[in-house]
Symmetry: C2
Subunit: 397 residues, 2 copies
């Protein structure tokens, strides 16, 4: 059964099964705005950038976009000049079929690295995407962009700004290679609000830092990470700027939406059985808070302990100790799922109770208080399981 979510005005979707790598499933999607939309993007900081990322970064310097074409199964990364030409050809074909300027077409890819796109199949897919068949919905798009994801990720928020009702929606994929500063994650955000270009760009950047850049699955960072947002203005408001009365509401709704999508990505971390929420406070400063929280979130030993339902706080202490953050062993408090395990650096003896609590519920909350200052940070991650290894040992072969 499909989950019903609101869709902003003026967007249409289609999907196709091009057989790029997978069989018997959709692997291409088209997101299309009936009207030119203000657009902004945030991309991987990996020095090895896939062709579609390079192309989009260039295109998004101009103000507007109409369409995003996505494929799964092939990342079009490490494919050199040919990869760039292929990405451009995709845009040219779409611009011809939809009769829109080529510069208004964005492109995204996810999948295996280093193999050129099979362009014959891609062209077949592009025909199907623009063939005027019955429209797809956001769930269909979210499914078509999945790689090792186990469920489609999409969500919406309805907001009212002045007299304008509007919608913010997002579709994402994640699963593996998820790390701060993005991941092989793709996320497409759409709204019918009108938002001034600079404001859209800055707000998207900020919200990405507060959401997708605070999740980690395995510490690997992809060559293809992409967050693109389109705002087509069909809701009828006057373009939002950072001083508009409705701006804060827009910003909050976007943050909430992206937070929800980022949780979905971690929850669907390859092989994960638990969403882990690391809440760190009491750090001397923001940099230390982030270092300490990520050190715990990334520790394979902490992640396997959670998978083993073992409240092994010693591994958390060790991860804090090597995080690079300033800590004092004898001022650290640690709780797991609300059960205090460490007070001022020493065991409380409640490990069995906490290990038992780990057996229940899909979420594990690790609260850490360094008691050294005012800074805090929150990071999402997931446990590390045999299944993660199995998926990644078999993924390409």
């Amino acid at each position: 059964m499909k989950r019903d979510v609101d869709i902003p005005l003026g967007y249409r979707f289609s999907v196709a099964a091009a057989g790029i790598k997978y069989e018997n499933r959709t692997d291409m999607a088209l997101i299309y705005s009936e009207r030119e939309a203000v657009a902004a993007g945030v991309f991987t900081t990996n020095r090895v950038k896939a062709a579609p990322v390079v192309l989009d970064m260039k295109r998004l310097r101009s103000a507007t976009a109409r369409a995003i074409v996505v494929n799964s199964g092939n990342a079009n990364a490490c494919t050199g000049q040919r990869g760039m030409k292929d990405a451009e050809s995709v845009c040219v074909r779409i611009s011809e079929r939809l009769d829109i300027p080529e510069k208004h077409v964005l492109v995204a890819s996810t999948g295996v690295i280093g193999i050129p796109l099979p362009m014959d199949r891609v062209y077949g897919g592009l025909e199907a995407l623009t063939g005027g068949t019955v429209g797809a919905d956001m769930e269909d798009v979210a499914r078509a962009i999945m790689t090792t994801d186990k469920f489609p990720k999409f969500a919406s928020r309805r907001i009212r700004i002045g007299k304008t009702d509007a919608v913010l929606s997002g579709m994402a994929k994640g699963a593996g290679m998820i790390s701060p500063n993005m991941a092989t994650m793709l996320c497409f955000l759409l709204t019918d609000l009108a938002v001034e270009k600079k404001t859209l760009k800055r707000t998207l950047r900020e919200a990405t830092d507060r959401t997708f850049n605070l999740i980690t699955v395995d510490g690997d960072m992809s060559t293809n990470d992409t967050v693109i947002m389109m705002a087509n203005g069909l809701a009828g408001n006057s373009p939002l700027t950072e001083t508009s009365p409705g701006y804060r509401r827009f910003r909050t709704a976007l943050l909430e939406l992206m937070d929800e999508l980022s949780r979905m990505i971690v929850k669907d971390g390859e092989g994960a059985t638990r969403l882990m929420i690391i809440r760190l406070r009491g750090a001397r400063n923001a940099a230390d808070a982030k270092k300490a929280a990520f050190s715990v979130a990334r520790s394979p030993l902490v992640k396997t302990a959670v998978y083993g339902r073992d409240a092994n706080w010693g591994r958390i202490m060790a991860a804090l100790g090597y995080s690079g953050a300033f800590i004092r062993e004898d001022s650290i408090d640690i709780s797991i799922n609300g059960i205090k395990l460490v007070g001022n650096g020493l065991a409380t003896g409640r490990d069995p109770e906490a290990s038992d609590a780990l057996k229940h519920g899909a979420e594990t909350v690790i609260d850490i208080n360094l008691k050294l200052g005012p800074a805090s940070e929150r990071v999402y991650t997931c446990d590390l399981t045999e299944e993660y290894v199995r998926i990644n040992a078999a993924y390409r072969t």
Copy 2:
């Protein structure tokens, strides 16, 4: 059958089964020098340091040592004041039983964090260690200090300096929580050479940086990492300094010995099926070389690909890209086990051949040339398997 290795003059060993955590095996060891030995140590850089580490760091400021007491099964870490007192009590007891000054006794622990040492059992073990029974050998010691290790790690080198024949020996344990800047690794190095204190300290530090600090299993760094070296001078040479004629030979032998032990640790990485050797060259500078090599060595995706016998060089490119080192995608060459997979950033198409090669042999060599400068680095790691997860999900419970 026991492996025969040379033992330097004047050292004696004993082991005991104290039942600290494990049953039916030895878990305590004593290394004893008949004569006061010049001693030096290198310890974890984790801010959370186990009690024995804190104690040894203090003791090694003085020039000499006679004994090292080690236990497995309990790390005596995160145990506060009580942990410090327990570590001191161990030394006091040994000093009484052996009639040597307390300050000449060093102590090391490995195992679970956060639980106080069961001192009644430890005292029982100390009695047995000093009970004058038949002497143990280095293999016995190497076995007694194992935690999740699958084989005992020990080795020797025989060297001749001038007219003096001497031996360098080492015993180590590793397995999990292995990362640069040490690991839950313990290593005890013994020689009958005379070495001047400052020289011993500096050479040990340098050799540790070139060996144990260039290995990684899972990126976790322990609270207990310890490398201690004793040089008792019974070989009869005049104390080595950095300007002695034999110094370079000593340094080389020590490096080789520690390299051999560090390879053993990685080979026995938890769940590992392949020793991976990352050889990176052509970096602009040493810092970049290290960053790039470690980024590949630590990538869970690269490690699972090797486990899956998949020559997935795209994951290597991605890891280089996010390493923080300066790279140019189009100048990178990558080979696996001598088979060139990437030339100037592009696929050579030999992946099937390389994947096939991955099926054979216990070692996987990944050669990377960035072609940007003169710096190189070599890092040892191992593949990531379901078994790693299984071991670490079940380790404490």
